[in-house]
Point group: C2
Chain length 127, copies 2
Amino acid sequence: MNPPPKTAAGTRTLSGPAGCEESLRHCDAALVRAFGFLGKRWSGVILGTLANGESGFADLKRRVEGISDSVLSDRLAELQGAGLIVRSVESGPPVSVSYALSESGRALMPAMFELSAWAAKNLPDAR
Amino acid sequence: MNPPPKTAAGTRTLSGPAGCEESLRHCDAALVRAFGFLGKRWSGVILGTLANGESGFADLKRRVEGISDSVLSDRLAELQGAGLIVRSVESGPPVSVSYALSESGRALMPAMFELSAWAAKNLPDAR
DNA sequence: CAAGTAACTCTGTTTTTCGAAGTTACATGT
DNA sequence: ACATGTAACTTCGAAAAACAGAGTTACTTG
């Protein structure tokens, strides 16, 4: 998605260097990919929580209120697979596992800040 | 979520003017609210698609590839309820309905642009 | 008047997400 | 020594969400 490159008349397009050359304006492959992750329950919140610092499984579960063990486990595996977070085992004793944002995970944070600021202004509360 | 206000030692916090006064760093109520919508399948993509201009139900369904009628219908109702999009009926004939971003919906777009840019760089493809 | 399009809704099936319990490994208290 | 506790998960059956596809109503076009 590129900042709308205003066309002559009201017909705005998204087309940029790398996509959506067709005149149909339904693309934005990158956004679709982003929401392949973020469009799943909890992913965004987990990422946002990890912005506060790394934490272990049990700790994360406490910080992300309402998530279940199995879903937390699934999400961590997905995010890890996508390279957004890093799982590291500190081989104790006691052994402990901790999850933290990776380089690309950290690169997401500016967008998260904006999202959060937007929500603060535009989603009053009681949805 | 606020840009991390570095604390003395490694303990970063998110606490800002309006939330998370407690020392537990698991808050960010605004982000959680944002993902109450965006964390559902299709919501983000629908919003991103509407950034290209308003469109009717059938048109949207074509532009958001893969969505089903019933889910599109649900999402439009939700987004409308939250005031992110506006449904307007142009009473023809032929009568037609069209959906467009509202003021707050448009306010989300800068965050979407960032998200998209991030995905373009950090989510190569084939997930 | 037959066919098509828009905008949905309804129904039944598949996929996700859920809470709760179970597992393995180590640590601590008594 | 042994019961208890914590961390890190996995497994299971049930509830909720998403899906595909058929049906509905209203209006237009050939």
